[in-house]
Amino acid sequence: MSKHVVATVAEIPPGKRKLVTVRGRSIAVFNLDGEFYGLFNRCPHQGGPMCEGILTGLIQSNEPGHYEYSRAGEILRCPWHGWEFDVRTGQSFCDPSKISVRSYPMEVAPGQTVVQGPYVAETIPVTVEEQYVVVEM
């Protein structure tokens, strides 16, 4: 396990995402209101590129004719077949107990810490002034 710098905080504003590669693995990094979440960029269904999916909300219903819309912007739909996943956990909504997309814990580290190491920052130049998105894997 090592810590990898994948982006500056500034380059992924809230509601946006970035596709990164860490140890050969494609990871879609999302910013939800300042919190960062990483998901494996391959849908467990047929392999669709998760990073290109839309972020939407969760629609739930207790009976026909009634619905609740919640969690706006926190639900990721695969761009191929539309399967829904919780961006925070990777859990699916079609079969939550069995199907999920792998989730990678993301953290924010100040440039001061990143510069001191030990961090792997192969593609991102780091300076003390910036804030960085980091994944440990």
């Binding site: 392999g47 761009p79 792998r102």
Partner: protein, 368 residues
């Protein structure tokens, strides 16, 4: 955990060259056809537009779940609608999956069901010219269908005879939601012309005859309606068989596209059972209906049936017959089946070759 389903998927088929039996190219706009339409019909298109036998011109009676019915990642970076950019299709489909032949089905404006029949015939010719010049001649892996106006048999036959012998065209297409059930005699001359020229009829669900897609009536939800395509194709298959089309034209081949296939064995069993009891009603069927289906019809896989136990599908495919099954992706549409992961049933090497390649090469005469 995150790989629950993918780990169960069959080994990638990428090493085997594939034939994809349902690929959708698209016009960037109807103006793409201008070079292939006479001034008379260009002006007609501009002034009167495309009019089909359906209410709410400009809207589709078919549901959608994504813009342009397409995978979100298929919009070409250079602009245009999904399927309209050959270079992007090559990158995203043909090269990526090792597709040696892709059978094109056009679903945007077509002349197949125009209400103005002369315009329909002119539009079919223009589309076929466009397919030849801008698709099949630009990438020899792509094979077109001769689109014909199905409600106008003489014009349809003229279109078939115009292109017959051109190996860029591997089948004949008309809409599946015809004014009368497709087995009726008004359509027979078209089938005879196709068979006489060695061309299968490729029937991709399309068009509108004013009826709802589902026989239950107009659906409220896409979830409710999507499988109704299969039900409407069941009606079509039953009509072709019971009207005696296959017994009358033994050389006719029909490919059912984008209706899945798990329903086919059940339909065969039921038709055979009723034929045994009411054979005297349809004496022109000298053999059980399933025999015509198993000899003269083929079915594409997409949208793939996904039983809880993937291997349950093997029984269904066996009942249907491995030689009847043609793999299809439906690229770039949102219900695309990925060649590497869609078929979760384990197959023998021979079955894999048949489904992903050899059956299609045979029915479409790609080895000729």
């Amino acid at each position: 955990m995150s790989q629950t389903l993918l780990e169960r998927a069959a080994a990638p088929a990428a090493r085997l060259m594939l034939v994809d039996c349902d690929v959708h190219h698209a016009l960037r706009s109807p103006a793409d056809l201008h070079p292939y339409l006479s001034q008379r019909w260009r002006e007609h298109l501009k002034t009167y537009g495309s009019r089909k036998p359906t209410p709410f011109t400009g809207a589709s009676p078919f549901f959608k779940s994504a813009p342009a019915l397409s995978r979100k990642d298929t919009w070409p970076p250079a602009g245009g609608t999904p399927g309209s950019d050959l270079a992007f299709m090559q990158e995203q489909l043909l090269d990526r999956y090792g597709i040696e032949a892709g059978m094109l089905h056009l679903l945007s404006i077509t002349g197949m069901d125009q209400r103005n029949q002369d315009f329909g015939a002119a539009l079919c010719r223009a589309i076929n010219e466009w397919q030849y010049a801008e698709w099949t001649q630009q990438d020899r892996r792509l094979k077109a269908a001769i689109v014909v106006p199905g409600e106008d048999a003489p014009a349809a036959i003229a279109e078939i005879e115009h292109w017959a012998g051109n190996r860029d065209f591997c089948q004949v297409s008309l809409v599946t939601h015809t004014i009368e059930p497709m087995g009726r005699r008004r359509y027979w001359p078209i089938f005879e012309a196709a068979a006489a020229n060695g061309l299968p009829i490729g029937l991709h669900s399309s068009g509108s005859n004013g009826h709802a897609i589902s026989p239950a009536g107009w659906s409220s939800f896409y979830t409710e309606e999507h499988h109704s395509i299969a039900i409407s194709q069941q009606g079509l298959v039953s009509s072709l068989v019971c009207e005696g089309v296959f017994s009358r034209i033994p050389a006719l081949k029909v490919v059912i596209v984008e209706a899945g296939l798990a329903w086919v064995p059940s339909l065969c069993w039921r038709l055979d059972r009723h034929w045994a009891r009411m054979r005297d009603e349809v004496p022109h069927l000298t053999r059980p209906p399933s025999e015509y289906i198993r000899e003269q019809m083929w079915f594409t896989t997409q949208p793939m049936d996904e039983p809880e136990n993937p291997d349950d599908l093997r029984d269904i495919l066996s009942w249907l017959g491995w030689d009847r099954i043609l793999f299809a992706t439906d690229y770039p549409h949102w219900d695309f089946d990925d060649p590497d992961t869609a078929m979760k049933v384990s197959l023998t090497e021979q079955q894999r070759r048949m489904v992903f390649r050899d059956n299609a090469r045979s029915v479409y005469g790609l080895d000729k």
